[in-house]
Symmetry: C2
Subunit: 515 residues, 2 copies
């Protein structure tokens, strides 16, 4: 029994019956998305913001952006008033910002369990797991290519993680399934193994359409046409390039009123200038162009201002995470997003470590804290990221997911209602006393302090007797316990059958492709 | 050879000569204290601040504070206008705040090397190492009682840590030296093994006087009388109690114009109410009473508004660190200190872990970031803290000290000067290009990004071939390298002799005491 699980267990005695009772009372509680009651940290002055905004307009008007292999996009831009030269789109000052104005400030992403719906935008913060790693890592098996079985385990862990509001997308890349079919298995896993909201496929226009089709089975066609049920990740090919694959997916989602994160993918110094202000200028220009394009497809389509930015180790060329420059960019991009009136995506459990060790935790904590204070509304990669995003770590998934609880509490802010002022307690205890037994403490001690479900708070001797486990060992036990306790959420059998049939038919319709 | 040390080594070849050359070129550079160019994070509204300030006045006026076994203090308070009843001091509304007004907003703490002087207050942040642990821990020896030899090693590591501005005080408790004599050895180590500023002894009035006497040898009597050369830690015995030992030390230091941190020591729920607002009220009342008392001793004596606050695990009673409640209190106390116009001490490398693992790093990073953004001016415990402060860890000392570099860079803020705007780079590279070779990158790549001297940024294969070391192993190698490279800073032989003679004479003047 791990420390983390102790509070959930029934009183001693009972053997098998008690275990069954324990199992039946396991709670898969999910916290409501974070509604911030604390201010944002505004690192940029008004003057700096105005300079960056003016420069971004200059970038769009004078340098422009490329829409690659996408004649219809160029035609839409031409009609909107942009100047087209080959694949280059030069956007007159003010036009992109004006087009962005039709995007909603906030939207609801629906889950199949309505209690798990999330509100994206405003003062809210929605947390979703790591996205994209081709490898997985656990303490027993080490690092290896990810499989569909790994994927399912991560979806189960996400479903059971209290502080995670969203099931995510490509939690890891199931490399044992054909490239042209794995999106079907991934979506099927999110839809059936969890009831939290999820993301759609973006690797091909047809796969985005498959995602919409499967959602129509899950939610009903009319519901999908009137509501947002997916938030998908559209990366910009920085600098200033919009490729046809990502734009193809965006076009499908926007046309179907499904949400997209429009997100520069920047390793600073390689895909953007080495300076923070220069990178922010490029980020703003790229996001405005991408979101403007989404609104050309369908005015009012829900979108998120994304910023994935890391710095680089100029010695080795490796991307670096949890760095001060990334923090500055994340804070600054949040300000730019708010001035555009758009939901903001950034931050995550970023780190460059090969192991879920102290480096991983320092870099992750640096970034999670920046994410909360920079006003992020949708945090992808909020748990499980390792080794620069090459690896999804089972242990780090639950370690990070536990830390996300602290963000919830911090975001509540500080109450000064009469009870929180605690003047009665101060009077009751007085100089030299102690507060453990006073009435105010007795009334509040259960909820007063956020408590980790994972970390070690035991006396040294107890900890030592129990095996002197480090955080990774505690996390490994928690992963095992959570997967053992997992119970699949119920689903209408007709829908389950229809989803399975759709996946089978689509898989049978074309041969496997492995690149 | 560790990755961290690689950039310092000369080119291949040369054997012994190269090693000697390397040794002679080792640089013990110390960064200047942080001068923030970023705003503070203000978590409390104006309304909340006013409520807390009014309640703190109520606490002082109606509940009062105890000055224990200290008749002269009671007499000073009586003369100042307080109401005395036994050891209880009730301070009329407004009086404590009024007395605090004579304390300086900022002061210089001098080091024997003037290049290492620090400015405490204003927008500055001075970083000092862990203070007080009776145990040490390293990866080879595990956890054991600290000795004077350990103490000296930590002073050497502090001297060689670029991002550490201050040598600290009781970096660990040298338990192999008599209780009544160890302060002499500790001060002697700070004075001779380092040239950074340091702290004085507070465990007895006579030991505070020894600290002043030794400083008069080191700096000259007149210099000490006219300048601040020590910043010492005066803990308040929370709730609302000022004991005679700590006050005795405070009286010596204040009378000699030496600085004191006046600091509540609060495990929330035990020594203060379980609510953030209630704790902040108590912190403010306690600090105002303590600082007011320092100004009764000597108006204008330099002081720091301290707040050491942790939360508690209500199951086990263990103090917990890096928690959201501690963050809220640290942010709030910073605002209260600024409104009083006083330098602020809080935060540090706090964590409850038994090992320098992921838990230690999450909790530490949470707290270091809060420290930077809450406007802390003096951060004690900025590196090396483990296991709730029971343990000073060699590896964690260098791990944390490395992370302090990131705070320096983040605090610089975001430049928007024409060069930082990087418009030329954006024009030069354009859509689809890359920035690695552009002129702007070439001009700035060496200084653009903060770079860890410790953490692993290598490709997986290289890292794996080199032993797949985690952060602790990298840190252990760095500790060994730094201690091997250590060179003692020079000192006038007459002063060195006088210091040694003072220590010997004081030690000979009384028998050893071990409690």
């Amino acid at each position: 029994m791990t420390q983390a699980d102790a509070p959930r267990r029934p009183a001693r005695g009972g053997g098998g019956a008690a275990r069954r009772a324990s199992r039946s009372t396991v709670s898969f509680e999910t916290a409501r998305f974070i509604e911030r009651n604390i201010p944002d940290f505004d690192i940029l002055t008004e003057e700096a913001l105005e300079i960056i905004e003016a420069n971004a307009e200059t970038v769009l008007a004078e340098i422009g952006v490329n829409f690659v292999n996408n004649a219809p996009a160029l035609e839409l831009w031409r009609q909107a008033g942009a100047e087209i030269e080959g694949e280059r789109v030069r956007i007159p000052r003010g036009l992109a910002r004006q087009l962005c104005a039709t995007a909603p400030r906030q939207f609801t992403q629906h889950a199949r369990n309505p209690a798990r719906n999330v509100e994206i935008g405003g003062r809210n913060l929605v947390l979703a797991p790591v996205y994209g790693p081709p490898f997985v890592h656990d303490v027993n098996g080490g690092r290896r290519y990810a499989t569909m079985e790994d994927f399912r385990k991560f979806v189960k862990l996400g479903y059971m993680s209290k502080w995670l509001h969203h099931s995510g997308g490509t939690v890891c890349e199931p490399t044992d399934v054909a490239v042209n079919k794995r999106h079907l298995d991934m979506l099927h896993a999110h839809m059936t193994l969890s009831d939290k909201p999820f993301m759609g496929s973006v690797t091909e226009k047809s796969r985005a359409q498959d995602s919409v089709d499967m959602c129509e089975i899950l939610f009903g066609r009319e519901f999908v046409q009137n509501n947002t049920v997916m938030t998908s990740l559209i990366n910009i090919n920085s600098p200033l390039t919009f490729d046809d694959v990502m734009m193809g997916a965006l076009e499908v989602y926007a046309a179907n009123n499904q949400a997209c994160i429009i997100s520069p993918f920047i390793v600073g110094g390689a895909m953007a200038p080495v300076s923070v202000a220069g990178t922010l200028t490029q980020v703003l220009a790229e996001v405005m162009a991408g979101i403007a394009y989404s609104q050309l497809i369908r005015p009012g389509a829900p979108v998120i201002f994304g910023a994935f930015v890391t710095s680089i180790d100029m010695n080795s060329g490796a991307p670096t995470f949890g760095t001060p420059e990334a923090a500055q960019i994340t804070y600054g991009a949040g300000q730019l997003a708010r001035r555009l009136g758009l939901p903001y995506r950034s931050a995550g459990s970023f780190n460059g470590s090969k192991l879920p060790d102290a480096q991983a935790a320092y870099e992750t904590a640096n970034t999670l804290n920046v994410g909360l204070l920079s006003g992020v509304n949708f945090m992808l990669h909020a748990c499980g990221w390792l080794e620069g995003g090459l690896v999804a770590s089972f242990e780090k998934f639950v370690m990070d997911a536990d830390q996300l609880g602290a963000l919830h509490k911090l975001a509540q802010g500080v109450s000064v209602d009469p009870d929180a002022q605690a003047m009665d307690a101060l009077r009751e205890v007085g100089p030299g006393g102690h507060f453990l037994g006073c009435a105010h403490t007795q009334a509040h001690f259960k909820s007063a302090f956020w408590k980790s479900d994972l970390l070690d708070y035991k006396p040294y001797e107890t900890w030592s007797e129990e095996g002197a486990r480090d955080t990774v060992m505690l996390a490994a036990a928690r992963v095992e316990k959570m997967l053992g306790d997992y119970q699949q959420p119920g689903m209408d059998p007709a829908i389950a059958e229809a989803l399975a049939a759709f996946v089978a038919a689509r898989k049978a319709s074309e041969p496997d492709a492995f690149s």
